[in-house]
């Protein structure tokens, strides 16, 4: 089953190439693959919920360090989110890519499938080495997606993207991994952590720092620059990869390392994560502040992501079960919220050709569904009921108090206010702002540029799905909460 979770997207990729002559069949193949993958992950979920830990060894590059998969609750949570949202994003892409008349669409769907396969590898990695391998493969397979446009700007962004991600992972993360191996003689993820009781003193905070910064995909400042750079990619890429699969792979790795390599009790006892709590807190606040200054919608969302990712890092660094539960749930909640926002941004770009916040005045009256969805997504990111984001913020707040860090509660509150301010501006402007002069034409509805309206319907369905998802997660967060309590053993 675990093998299938890698094989299905790769087979899907092959199918996509085979069917390249017929776009309809190609996209159908993408959708079917995504559906099949989600079904497989559900099966894995069922097995893990029943207390099982399915595992599989793929190869053994270095004696004693295999490439092995093993499903555990945290990985299942990540895999569920990534595979479900892949279905939705594929629906969305069909409308977006055709509506936007992007070139090289086969290449796009191909690398998309590869990226998902690597994300599954990250989710089900059974040891640090496997995690590292799939983490690197994910960087490499998303590179063609970032530079998809092929313009000079896209190439420059691609350089920053690969440069930051590969440099941090090779120079810091790999060092941390080998160091861990030198100390413990193993790289397997184990309940309670492998370093627990084997390392002591100043090594622990340094090693943890190497992991947190070395996992560049978590975008902890100052290694966050790749994320705004990646926004040159087509919007579906920004939506699924740079709001869900890639960035969540980063924070997921941080959580996983905290829980299964260090062990939260060991970290809390050593006090090794306190300095990183404040690094994460600084990223949360600074990311929000930078988001304020961005007029470009996608850039603003990107910095919002930088800020939100550090919530998960913070949850991990709190090193108590509330923090870990909050962090894990935030992976899910933020995924639904942020992907909705990106979908809306893309819809606005395709339908109305607007990319700057200041140009959005009055547009909400012409695109009411899109802007309503944006509103719901905003609520979830800010953490207000009735959306799922409320739960993860709640647990993170409790975790901060439990760790005795009242200051962090203040940071969380402040950041919520900031994100409320910079995100709410958009729906407010859309619904109540003045339309720009000379903009009385009916761009929003007639799709005057000749796309058949049926295609955009696919995109709208995707937007509605994720927006409804945000609300459903408020009413019914139970599945994710239960997985996380299995992780912490509460």
């Amino acid at each position: 089953m675990l093998g299938l979770s890698l094989a299905v997207p790769v087979a899907g990729a092959a199918l996509i190439v085979l069917l390249r002559r017929s776009p309809n069949a190609r996209e159908a193949a993408s959708l079917v693959t995504a559906g099949a993958l989600f079904a497989i992950v559900l099966r894995v979920h069922a097995a893990v919920s029943g207390g099982g830990r399915p595992s599989l060894v793929l190869a053994e590059p270095i004696p004693g360090i295999p490439i092995a998969l093993e499903a555990e609750p945290l990985g299942v949570l990540f895999a569920l989110i990534a595979s479900f949202l892949w279905i939705v994003t594929t629906m969305y892409s069909i409308g977006y890519m055709r509506g936007h008349r992007e070139k090289h669409q086969t290449r796009f769907y191909l690398f998309f499938a590869f990226a998902i396969a690597s994300a599954m590898g990250v989710a089900f990695a059974g040891n640090l080495f496997t995690l590292f391998v799939f983490y690197e493969v994910l960087s490499l397979t998303t590179f063609p997606l970032v530079t998809h446009a092929g313009t000079e700007k896209a190439k420059r962004a691609g350089r920053v993207y690969l440069g930051v991600l590969l440099t941090t992972s090779i120079a810091l993360q790999l060092l941390a991994i080998v160091w861990t191996y030198a100390i413990t003689g193993t790289l397997d993820f184990q309940d309670g952590g492998i370093l627990s009781g084997r390392a002591a003193g100043a090594v622990v905070p340094v090693l943890l720092g190497l992991y947190v910064f070395g996992i560049g995909k978590a975008a902890v400042m100052p290694f966050h620059r790749w994320l705004p750079a990646a926004m040159v990619a087509p919007t579906p890429v920004s939506a699924l990869l740079h709001a869900v699969a890639v960035v969540k792979a980063g924070v997921f790795a941080v959580l996983k390392v905290t829980v299964y390599v260090f062990g939260i009790d060991f970290l809390a006892g050593a006090g090794a994560s306190v300095w990183l709590m404040w690094v994460a807190a600084a990223t949360i606040i600074l990311g929000s502040l930078v988001a304020f200054t961005k007029d470009n919608l996608k850039a603003r969302l990107a910095y919002s992501t930088v800020s939100q990712l550090s919530y998960v890092v913070l949850g991990a660094m709190l090193a108590n079960s509330w923090g870990v539960i909050g962090g894990g749930m935030h992976i899910a909640m933020h995924a639904f919220g942020k992907i909705t926002l990106f979908f809306c941004a893309g819809a606005i770009m395709v339908a109305a050709h607007r990319s700057e916040v200041s140009q959005l005045g009055g547009l909400g009256r012409r695109m009411p569904v899109t802007f309503a969805a944006f509103f719901i997504g905003t609520l979830s990111i800010v953490g207000l009921p009735p959306t799922g984001g409320a739960w993860s913020k709640w647990f993170l707040g409790v975790g901060s108090l439990e760790a005795g860090q009242v200051g962090l509660v203040a940071v969380l509150m402040l950041s919520s206010l900031l994100s409320l301010a910079y995100l709410m501006e958009i729906p407010l402007k859309g619904f109540f702002g003045k339309a720009e002069a000379g903009d009385r034409g009916d761009h929003g509805h007639d799709h005057a540029h000749g796309h058949p309206p049926g295609i955009l319907r696919w995109s709208m369905a995707a937007i509605v799905t994720t927006a409804v998802g945000c609300v459903v997660l408020f009413i019914h967060p139970e599945p994710f909460h239960r997985l996380m309590t299995m992780v912490t053993g509460q």
């Binding site: 270095i62 530079t147 690969l162 590969l166 090779i170 080998v178």
Partner: protein, 492 residues
């Protein structure tokens, strides 16, 4: 027959060489070269198998008993190096046929193959022999033929490059023979095993220490340790492509082996690390090689030169492993001998394909080649990833052991330097990738993919990069056992 394997290892290419020269027929010479190379691989593999199961093999030439007679002595260490050299030879020899037709004057082709076989015989001889003077003899055989091979490059600068290599190489060889002479003066023996027994009695003598210095400098010149590397970049850049691929993957590796043999087997690890402080001398040199040469490589515009500087940096990794003075460090060194041979072989062969089609490896001339020569450039990308040390390639495996060795000694800054140097490697590999894939093609529209006769051998090595990167258990085990032999001094 199998009792005579050790001598066949050297004699087959040594006798095939004059055959090539006398035949005067390019095709026939090429076939002989290929067959002889494959024969050496078969011999080397069966020797390794024998040594792994039955232990050290000793072969007395002409039945003259050592220490007076010349002894060939095979243990895991040199069986391993023999496999490396003959593997590369077996892959490069078929490649050479087509590549050389394009790059070397037609009437010289039989002589070219003869020189190649002599060089191969010399390298295998250095590796297999258990007699120090015999090392010198084979060193001269391999070096002289290497100078000739390099001088056959198409550009006139190949001549000056070969001459420069000749001067430096001769200095190195002279240093080595002086060192050997001093050892003979002190012990009266030239047999390695014998020397290893006799030397500890005269450890305190200044003559022995001077001999140690001469041998060390001589070997380091041959293996191009920074700052004694100056002959290497031009020699590699101007030699015919197949020669570069062959020498880059074998000659420096054998020189590293020579260094290990002299310092760890003959003098012994206790003398090298305890008395002479070898680790403290080599560590800064190796680090300087890794960092400065990677930086220099970034600024090269000729890709063969770029790879040549990268080779000097990679040799730094091998010496670095030695300077850790531990089994893990030596495992890294021995693994990297093999792994670097695979990756540099693949990269230089890919460049040979480019030369075959467009006649240049200037980075600007390679713009847009990713579309026109997809297989060639894909080979370069995989080889490049291996050079950087991306997981699932062989480069990662050697780097893993190297970093592990550094951390075992508690030298974490060294580990950091090694990792940063990987990032530098990423930069110089990236420059080529960017030119080939992201720049619009200029120049001749009609450029086609290289012929399969070049691509197949190239991809054999590329495949080996991946195969031994995904499943390094076997190579790592051999390297580890060889490292133990070297550290404990059990062996010849």
């Amino acid at each position: 027959m199998s009792a005579h394997l050790p001598i066949l290892q050297v004699v087959v290419p040594l006798l095939a060489a004059p055959l090539c020269a006398f035949l005067r027929n390019a095709r026939a010479a090429a076939v002989i070269a290929v067959l002889a190379s494959w024969a050496t691989l078969a011999v080397a593999l069966s020797l390794l198998g024998d040594v792994m199961s039955a232990g050290v093999i000793s072969y007395e030439i002409g039945d003259w008993a050592p220490p007076l007679g010349i002894e060939y002595r095979v243990d895991i260490v040199n069986a391993w190096v023999l496999v490396i050299v003959s593997t590369i030879a077996s892959v490069v020899a078929p490649y050479m046929i087509t590549s050389v037709e394009d790059e070397v004057e037609r009437r010289r082709i039989p002589l070219f193959h003869a020189a190649y076989l002599l060089c191969l015989a010399g390298l295998l001889g250095i590796t297999i022999t258990g007699d120090v003077f015999n090392v010198f003899v084979f060193l001269e055989i391999s070096s002289l033929s290497a100078y000739a091979l390099i001088a056959m490059g198409t550009r006139r600068r190949a001549l000056t490059a070969a001459f420069r290599y000749l001067v430096m190489g001769t200095v190195g060889a002279t240093f080595i023979v002086i060192g050997i002479g001093l050892l003979y003066v002190m012990t009266g023996s030239l047999n390695m095993a014998d020397l290893a027994v006799l030397l500890p009695e005269v450890w305190d003598s200044r003559t022995v220490k001077v001999a140690y210095g001469f041998l060390g400098v001589g070997c380091c010149l041959k293996l191009a340790l920074f700052p004694l590397h100056l002959w290497l970049p031009n020699a590699y850049a101007f030699a015919p492509s197949a020669v570069t691929a062959f020498l880059a993957s074998t000659a420096t590796k054998v020189a590293v082996y020579m260094l290990l043999r002299f310092f760890l087997t003959i003098f012994g690890a206790p003398f090298s690390f305890g008395v002479m402080g070898l680790d403290r001398v080599l560590l800064p040199l190796a680090l300087a090689a890794v960092v400065t040469m990677s930086l220099v490589a970034i600024f090269q515009v000729d890709v063969k030169r770029l790879l040549a500087y990268s080779s000097v940096a990679q040799i730094g990794y091998m010496v670095l492993g030695l300077s850790f003075a531990s089994v893990t460090g030596l495992t890294a060194t021995l693994l990297h001998l093999f792994n670097h041979a695979l990756m540099k072989g693949a990269l230089f062969m890919a460049m040979g394909c480019v030369v075959y089609r467009i006649g240049s490896v200037h980075i600007d001339a390679m713009a847009g080649l990713g579309k026109r020569m997809p297989w060639t450039m894909a080979a370069f990308v995989v080889g490049g990833l291996s050079l950087v040390g991306v997981p699932l390639t062989v480069g990662f495996v050697s780097k893993w052991f190297l970093i592990l060795g550094a951390l075992e000694r508690g030298w974490w800054p060294v580990a950091v330097v090694v990792l940063l140097a990987s990032v530098l490697a990423l930069v110089y590999v990236w420059r080529v990738v960017e030119a080939a894939y992201f720049r619009p093609a200029g120049g001749d529209e009609g450029t086609r993919e290289a012929p399969w006769r070049l691509l197949v051998p190239t991809w054999v090595l590329v495949g080996a990069n991946l195969y031994f990167g995904i499943g390094a258990a076997r190579t790592a085990r051999v390297a580890e056992r060889a490292a133990e032999v070297l550290m404990t001094g059990v062996g010849p």
